[in-house]
Amino acid sequence: MGLGPQLGVSARNRMTWRDKIAHISWPMIFLIGCIASIGFAMLYSAAHGSADPWMDRQAARFGVGLAMMFAVAMIDLKTLMRFVYPAYVVSILLLVWVDFAGEVGMGAQRWIDLGVVQLQPSEIMKITLVMTLARYFHGLSYEDVGRPLSLIVPTLLVLVPAALVLKQPDLGTAGMLMMVAAAMFVVVGVRWWKFALVLAMGVGVAYYAWNSPDILHDYQKARIMTFMDPESDLQGTGYHITQSKIALGSGGVWGKGFLQGTQSHLDFLPERQTDFIFTMYAEEFGMVGGLVLLGLYVLLVAYGVVIAVRCKSQFGRLLAFGLSFNLFCYFFINTAMVMGLIPVVGVPLPLISYGGTVLMTVLIGFGLVMSVNIHRDQRIGRRLGNEDA
């Protein structure tokens, strides 16, 4: 990617529309387009060769999402920062709301029915948490980060939504929130021993959670238990993962061919249009197809990291890095779970799994990363003022 035109300080902070459009990262859009196309193809296959009921709707949402992505990419970072804390508060409120009034799906409360759309606040939280942490750490100096007291606020910022999500109960999303947050803590320079402390506490909490019926539901425990020994419960919870492994393994190197996946088309594979879509993809396109898709994701994540490194403001850096890591967590957890490496926790495959909120938030996330790329030379002071020299 070429360097932007060298501009003066005041000019840097007042980019024209033309400049912004010129800085849109087209390779990134190309990668997104590739992955989304694979997604459309798989939704077409999941419906046994029909655009209805999944592909057409997903494509429409993708169009809307792309527009939102471009819109978000145009917003400059400073403006964004003003909306971060209010957005965080709104997200928390939505999480509280979903805990009390959410729609029950798969034994968990995850959706808010807004009439026209169904909203998953936990997905929104993934983006707003990254923004919030980026905003908070932006205001800290390197020395501040070294002080344990200054870490109390961001830790709370993470734990409150994580607890609310866990309460839904959505183990996967809660885990992702914490992993992304931890990664951002490391990037801002938090010492390892502090992590060890938090980790020890985490283990304690996990132990408490395991033994407390209010926090971890039986079905979540069962999922973890069947993960340890999937063959033990072939008709029950182990069924999903066993069938998924059969589908993957039987795909072989080159796969069974588009629309030819027997496991998915004969309904042996559960949730083939959502959480287990990677399995269907790898059954039909084999290991080669699977590696190509993983490669596309890695490129997309790497692109985000490069954008983060090149950004001159701490907020932009952390934002781009956090969102890239968020994307990594998404595809890693999803693929690792369908391959039987980790428990089935219900994390979708970004840009591919059927589901509106995830698609929207992921695309808005990419919009934010693009905004960071466009406004990478914008310098922002700790107190939100223009920083000169």
Binding site: G249, V253, L291, V301, L341
Partner: protein, 605 residues
Amino acid sequence: MGLGQAGLTLALAGRLYYLQVLQADKYKLLADENRINLRLLPPSRGLIYDRFGLPLADNYPNYRAMLVAEQTSDLARTLADFAELVPITERERAKIMKELSRNRPFTPIPVKEDLDWEQVSRVEINLPDLPGISIEVDQKRVYPFGGIAAHLLGYVSAPNEKDIEDDKDPLLSLPGIRIGKNGLERQYESPLRGQAGQSELEVNSVGRVIRELAREEGTPGKDLVTSLDIGLQQFVQQRLSAEYSGAAVIMDIYNGDILAMASTPTYDPSAFYRGLSPAEWQQLTSDEYHPLTNKAIAGQFAPGSTFKIATAVAAQQVGVSPAFNVFCPGYYTLGNMRFHCWKKEGHGHVDMPGALQHSCDVFFYELARTIGIDAIAVAARELGLGDVAGLDLPGERPGVMPTRAWKKATLGQSWHPGETLINGIGQGFVLATPLQLCVMTARVANGGYAVKPHLFKANEPPKADGPSPYPKMNLQQSWLDVVKDGMDRVCNNQRGTAYSSRITIPGMEMAGKTGSAQVRRISMAERATGVRKNEDIPWRQRDHALFVAFAPVHEPRYACAVVIEHGGGGARYAGPIARDMLIETQRRDPARRNPNNEGGRREMP
């Protein structure tokens, strides 16, 4: 951080390699096991024919109405509409409901079996108004002659647990399969059954059939052509049906073809196909006359005077001259025991043919005492007594041909001289099946060849004049001629015991031997006041009436044996039946008729 992500991504790639390359074969197999369902295709069962190609056991199409629950929106309505066309009983309705609740909605459930043609057409015409209903056809086993050959054909019914355990053929686990449980159906079960075909079906996770991937038709069962002449069988069975209980066999003396074998009372074999109700089963098994038993091979009777044939042959075998002469005063004394002749007044001087003609007991007492029981047993065994005849039918019983050693071994007692006398006239320990008596007569009539009876039709054409396919036994023609002469006189001499039952049609005359086997002890007191007539005593105590015969007398071809259980005197009750059987046989002359002119079928290997 970047390194960590790269490492995790590599772990994913490695996992993909492990699953999709290293373990691919294992998972491919599992995926195929998931989606491929093997379904057995039952082969059609081989038919059983009589010697002229008439089907005795046939497969008829069984039209049945099936219901697929998911194809109708209103199940109760469909069933009600169907019931208007074809009535459904309450019991059937309950069964349908049970099947519906037990199966998945796409599984076809039989609604009504065995629809007749009119019902099928009525349903077919109304199919558009009967969503979910379809007509399917499979096969049912039908015995067109019903009880006429029930004991020979046996029957088929669903295999029980033991059958499935003993026979590893996967066909047995197929619902609706029937296997031979008795008679020829059981004897030739394996060739009749054939080999199952296989259909490879692709199914989804709930078992719905998506499509057929491959189909391999099975091998249908081989047809069995029997030696039976069903027309003759029908005649014999009906002729016998006037009696309470009895059996009759008629066979070709040269090639061993069983032309007819009847046992009365009989039963309807198709009842077993349907499945008997407990009450029906109870009735069949508790019947005093044992309708389920094939008495021709499983009924063991004292042969009575018919055994004198064996004693006469045995005597000549050990060198007794046919001119051997005995004076019969009506009784015989051994030590301090007195043995009576059936004729109180005695027969006077009799030789061997004369003794057979009059069935003189005293002559044979003397003959038996002279040669001893073991010598009698040697000849009797050669004639086919005391061991199974080896008929290709399950359930044959061996009868008893006693010897000294036999008594020692089974009863632990030494032989009593008086027992030689009793057994020499076919009473006492000696027991024979009607089939054995028929074989004995055949072996005498065919000149001493060890003919063996069989029900499947022999491959070679009958050889009346050429060399017999059976080995010649140690029986000289001259000895047999003496016996045949005696048997000729039994029927054709005015003073023979069966003269009244003779065949008067020229060229069809028969030779035979009567037998009345006593089943009760006649006390001295009764003898003094006069032996009671069979008609005056209860059925169970009456004599068995027996008759063995061959015909035509000068050019023998057919041998027959008739046993009427507790029938009374052999001459009076069994003789006429044998006569009618032999007349009918010779009139039809199945052994000399060319079956190929009448639609003969390919034969069992």
